[in-house]
Amino acid sequence: MGIFFHIGRYFALIAKVLSRPEKGRVYIKQIFKEVDALGLNSLGIVVIISFFLGAVITIQTAYNFENPLIPLYLIGLTARDSMLLEFSSTIVGLILAGKVGSNVASEIGTMRVTEQIDALEIMGINSASYLILPKICGLVLFAPVLFIVSNFVGIIGGWVAGVGTGAVTSYDFIYGLHYAFNPFYITYSFTKCLVFAFIIISVSAYHGYYTIGGALEVGKSSTKAVVYSSILILVFNLIITQIMLT
């Protein structure tokens, strides 16, 4: 099946997902469940990764700033902008594509091969909307929280590594964090976060929803979900950057 078949089927699925829910109250309950399952459960990994990313960025920047003419506060500025512009949105997005994407694809794929999706359809329920819409809403709603936490922890990681290794003083690092701050970067990164959250869930759900076969195929769908959502994150990172930063 060609790429256009998949693109067409993906948009047909999204149209089905976004159609009017059967019972709003049930969906709202599901959204809260998904915020917990997909968002809150990802908080740990986001914190760990962001801390180390911030630390590594700071040490690498300090290593490259050996020229005494370059002010040391630029280490703090670089850590801030790197986390804000790229790491907290794109890198965390790629990591979530692995964690959340495989989870969503295997959950929905298993429901497909064990006829649970057929059971929903027989009951007269829009299975695509019931299963996928709360997941999309859950992660899209929680993605900004993950983004803020990632930035905050990343900068703390940078400060700990910079000050701890003696590469930069606490004063210089914090001065750099405040220096030449452009608030539009937050809008840009928030936009990326929301788009990436939508891509992760919708692409993974698409692969899970159309699984045919058994356990082996569920595994394959899960792998495809991670691969395609990662590629799309990178492509949309470029597109959004081109649109918003040039």
Binding site: K23, V26, T114, E115, Q116, D118, A119, I122, M123, G124
Partner: protein, 251 residues
């Protein structure tokens, strides 16, 4: 009553259903029998709309299901209960949540009323005190019974059972068969059972349709099935030694 008229279904080059017509009567256990791969599951999934038929009509009490829009189809689907081969219970939900699910989605009952209905359905299938267990904590036979309980939660007019006895021991199979029969008669439901278990057919079958290589090959009741001279039907029905002996004693 459900009537299918000249339905055909293909998957690519593979012509799975060939011009099948049949009537499934209300208040009776209507069996579709046939070998594995004969097209039984495709037929039942086509009748409930999980597969779109290429040709023909499916009528639910004179309502043309094949040419209906999604909204009207949904209305009919709320009148359908289905028991799947593997149970198809939601494995992340408890037994109570499984049965309550359709009630939650389509009624405005209070929490007490919902619980009352769940317990009524569980009692109907002879299960009690399993409300808070998960599907993987109960046996295969119990899963089938929970599946029946969920299927009758909204008082369906039509009940479809896809291989309800697969993977069950003979004694549990009889319990499930009797439950299906009892529910069919008590609530006057149009029941369609897809099976290759001859014990089930002889136990509760009212009307029997034999499907062979995607075609309706034979139709009758359980008395007629034993006396039929249809070769393909006899090869299927009297495949086991036990049924061969029965055939011998009849002839």
């Amino acid at each position: 009553m459900i009537a299918v008229e000249n339905i055909s279904k293909s998957f690519g080059e593979n012509n799975v259903l060939k011009n099948i017509s049949a009537k499934f009567e209300q208040g009776k256990a209507n069996f579709i029998i046939g070998q594995s791969g004969s097209g039984k599951t495709v037929l039942i999934k086509s009748i409930v709309g999980l597969h779109e038929v290429d040709e023909g009509k499916i009528m639910y009490d004179d309502r043309d299901f094949t040419n209906m829009n999604i909204k009207k189809r949904k209305k009919i689907r709320k009148e359908i209960g289905m028991i799947f081969q593997g149970g198809a219970l939601f494995d992340s939900a408890t037994i109570e949540q499984n049965i309550k699910f359709p009630i939650d989605m389509f009624t405005k009952q209070t929490t007490e009323e919902k619980l009352e209905r769940v317990n009524f359905c569980l009692k109907k299938v002879n299960l009690e005190n399993v409300n808070h267990l998960y599907p993987d904590e109960i046996s295969g036979g119990m899963k089938k019974r929970v599946s029946i309980a969920r299927a009758i939660a909204l008082n369906p007019k039509y009940l479809f059972c896809d291989e309800p006895n697969s993977g069950l021991d003979p004694k549990t199979s009889i319990v499930i068969d009797n439950l299906i029969k009892e529910i069919t008669e008590e609530f006057n439901i149009t029941t369609v059972v897809n099976s290759h278990d001859m014990n089930s057919v002889m136990q509760i079958g009212d009307n029997i349709m034999f499907v062979y290589q995607g075609e309706k090959w034979w139709e009758g009741n359980k008395e007629e099935i034993l006396k039929s001279d249809n070769k393909e039907l006899n090869d299927f029905v009297f495949a086991s030694d036990l049924y061969k002996k029965i055939k011998k004693s009849i002839s």
